[in-house]
């Protein structure tokens, strides 16, 4: 995605926000369009967000999950895709545990594909809503210092955020124990530190990532206790941050592990703004990929 494309999506999303604040939260823009929400992986936030976005634009949305789809009957992704294609959907939103799954789908079908998260690879709509949220609070993205702290190695959100924020002119610093920093991550044009103080110092935004408890079994860190002490965000550590720092988290939160409840719910937190903006960004994307020729805000 180019800088212009990202800006277009964010600008479109800004205009979409207003629809969600009306008493009747629905416009007919995508009437007659079919949006398939194809979620091979469990997801509450992202799926609901896409579903609401589609409905607010009057598209017909259908939800398929890994457990209800033919995947459990042994059908391959390609076959499922071809069958879906035969029913003429306009957009397929795919969440899949395998990196690259949307590429397979995009090659096989003519419907537009929106990646709603693939393996550890990318979660572009999350990065877009993160950028939108920061832009709303800070006015712009260029020149900001964004600290992303947590399980970088297994995080598609971190990868997409690196890609997006760097492209928009922000500087990104990643922070985690070395076990959770993947090889070559610097190639995104980001810097890396193992010291949380250094990451927080001067940051305009602190993005905390969910730490999965299963990682302990892969020896990524010794215990939740130690992880929380070294890399968890609490009021004490926040003292060294800038006074207008923004605290973000893509969710779901492990309260008390990577972020303390008082910080998650505190005055710096814009975590719920992220969720609100998620709907706007996804409305913008659905509108843009289905052509977007008719003006969304004329309705």
């Amino acid at each position: 995605m180019s800088v212009d494309e990202i800006s277009l999506i964010l600008d479109t999303a800004e205009r979409m926000k207003e629809i969600s604040e009306r008493p009747v939260k629905k416009v007919p823009t995508l009437r007659g369009k079919t949006v398939v929400l194809f979620f091979y992986e469990p997801s509450t936030r992202t799926r609901t967000s896409f579903d609401i976005a589609a409905k607010r634009l009057s598209a017909d949305s259908i939800s398929l999950s890994g457990s209800t789809s033919s995947m459990v009957k042994g059908e391959t992704l390609l076959d499922t895709a071809r069958n879906l294609e035969a029913m003429k959907p306009d957009v397929i939103v795919l969440r899949h545990p395998s990196a690259g799954a949307p590429h397979i789908l995009a090659k096989a079908v003519s419907a537009s594909i929106i990646n709603a998260g693939d393996g550890m690879h990318a979660h572009p709509t999350q990065a877009l809503l993160d950028m939108l949220t920061v832009r709303q609070h800070k006015g712009c993205l260029a020149g900001l210092r964004i600290a992303i702290i947590g399980d970088i190695a297994h995080s598609r959100v971190a990868r997409s955020d690196c890609e997006g924020f760097v492209k928009m002119g922000a500087s990104v610093i990643l922070c985690a124990p070395p076990t959770l920093i993947p090889k070559g991550i610097e190639s995104y044009g980001v810097s890396v530190t193992f010291d949380m103080k250094e990451a927080i110092d001067g940051a305009d935004v602190i993005m905390m990532l969910r730490i999965q408890k299963e990682r302990q079994s892969g020896f990524f860190f010794p215990s939740e206790r130690e992880y929380s002490r070294r890399y968890g965000l609490n009021r004490e550590k926040l003292k060294s941050a800038k006074s207008d720092v923004l605290i973000m988290h893509p969710g779901p939160i492990n309260r008390g592990l990577e972020i303390s409840p008082d910080v998650a719910d505190g005055p710096h937190s814009i975590i719920l703004d992220q969720v609100t903006n998620g709907v706007a960004v996804r409305m913008a994307l659905l509108y843009l990929v289905t052509g977007g020729t008719r003006n969304a805000d004329s309705d």
Binding site: L77, A99, G100, I104, G119, H121, K183, G184, Y188
Partner: protein
């Protein structure tokens, strides 16, 4: 019936006298009678009147070498005949210039007993004539729990033992396997991979894996096992052959071991000196194999290892898979690519780039595999006539759709390559003649 190959440039690294038989740079005629090499003389010296009992092949100055041997192939019979049978694998081998192959034991059922070995050999006897040398499994069902009966495997015709596809993770079992195989004169072929370090990775660990969001396999997953097996080789004195070397650190370890007189040999595959993990971009499952494609510094080290003799052999690790295993999500896709029909041309690129001499290439694709597996080879008068004729200048385009192999899983489809086997003879019988191949 006699065969006369006229006007060939003869190269036999294992038997330099033959090559010197003619005037320097001169062409030779090779006469084959009753399946054996009857005579080799400077062009025109042999006075054979053409007639019904002699088939004359004009080599036109092309290269004639001892038959190429691929000591690492997976034919899927028994068990997965939809990917490759012994018959189709042998045809692919012949088309690639190979007169003999060594088949890995990870069939279904596994070749861990004499009955399966004999079955493979009986299927091979029905095939086009390419020689098939089965490798037996080190452990029963490749499970790493108990040893296969090496004695029975050897008596049935196995030439080596290996759990290829899986490592022998238990170091004590590997020690015993090497000792026991030593007593029987069997080569132990080791697939070097520490499964814990590999940690379910799907490609080489590094920037590209990180950018693609795929779990990576570090070089060390291979190298720690290479180092372990070298230590066990030193301990046991067994003949150890390390399969598909892909990393700089492995090359360095093997070089050091050889310097210390440890009887280890090693192979690499054409993709490890031709491609890097960059080929995986776009989630191409035809670039997914184990060990994974590495980086340019590893490619350079593999080339240097071939050049200085650290790596003895080029073998393909021919691993046929159907779209059922390959047209899926990258992390779900099977490992491996077919290689028999592209190996020689990719090897010739090393000659073109000056890494190997032509004789050096033939040594790694024929002389050394024969030596390591204890097979006879070479263009000696009276020896079995296993011969490959190569047109080194032929430009051709890889068309996977026309492979003799059932499977088409190659990252080289559409590549323009230079050099091709044009005639393959096993035991005096033509098994591939490029002119008849439409």
């Amino acid at each position: 019936m006699r065969t006369l190959i006229r006007g060939a440039r003869v190269i036999d690294p294992g038997c330099p006298n033959v090559t010197k038989g003619g005037p320097m740079g001169g062409l030779l005629d090779v006469l084959i009678q009753d399946g054996r090499i009857a005579d080799i003389q400077p062009e025109g010296v042999l006075n054979i009147p053409s007639g019904n009992d002699v088939w004359i092949y004009e080599a036109d100055g092309h290269i004639l070498t001892p038959g190429l041997i691929d000591m690492h192939v997976h034919f899927r019979e028994p068990g997965q005949e939809y990917k490759e049978t012994i018959a189709t694998g042998c045809r692919a081998a012949a088309a690639g210039g190979f007169t003999a192959v060594c088949t890995m034991p990870n069939t279904c059922p596994v070749n861990d007993n004499g009955q399966i070995t004999r079955f493979i050999l009986s299927q091979a006897a029905e095939a086009c004539g390419v020689r098939v040398y089965p490798a037996g499994a080190i452990s029963k069902s490749l499970e790493g729990k108990s040893l296969s009966e090496f004695g029975e495997l050897k008596d049935a015709g196995a030439v080596a033992v290996t759990d290829d596809g899986k490592p022998v993770m238990n170091s004590l079992m590997m020690r015993r396997a090497m000792e026991y195989a030593y007593g029987l004169g069997l080569t132990v072929i080791s697939h070097c991979e520490d499964m814990q370090l590999a940690h379910g990775g799907a490609m080489n660990e590094g920037t590209i894996a990180t950018r693609m969001g795929l779990p990576g396999i570090p070089n060390a997953a291979e190298t720690v096992m290479v180092l372990r097996d070298i230590a066990l080789c030193e301990l046991t004195g067994a003949r150890l052959h390390i399969a598909h070397v892909s990393t700089l650190e492995s090359v360095r370890a093997i070089r050091e071991a050889k310097r210390n007189g440890i009887p280890v040999t090693a192979e690499t595959a054409p993709h490890y000196f031709t491609l890097t993990d960059d080929a995986v971009r776009d989630y191409s499952t035809h670039a997914k194999m184990n060990p994974p494609l590495r980086t340019q510094k590893d490619v350079d080290a593999v080339c240097e290892g071939l050049r200085d003799g650290t790596l003895d052999v080029i073998a393909t690790d021919h691993a046929p898979h159907s779209p059922v295993e390959k047209d899926v999500e990258f992390d779900q896709a099977a490992n491996g690519i077919v290689g028999l029909e592209t190996s020689l041309a990719l090897g010739l690129q090393l000659v073109e780039s000056g890494v190997l001499s032509l004789a050096g290439l033939i040594e790694k694709m024929s002389t050394q595999p024969a030596r390591i597996l204890g097979l006879s080879s070479g263009l000696k008068i009276g020896a079995a006539a296993d011969i490959t004729v190569i047109d080194p200048d032929r430009i051709w385009t890889v068309d996977a759709g026309r492979f003799k192999s059932i499977s088409r899983n190659t990252p080289f489809d559409g590549w323009a390559l230079k050099g091709k086997a044009v005639l393959t003879i096993v035991n005096g019988t033509v098994v591939f003649d490029e002119r008849l191949n439409t």
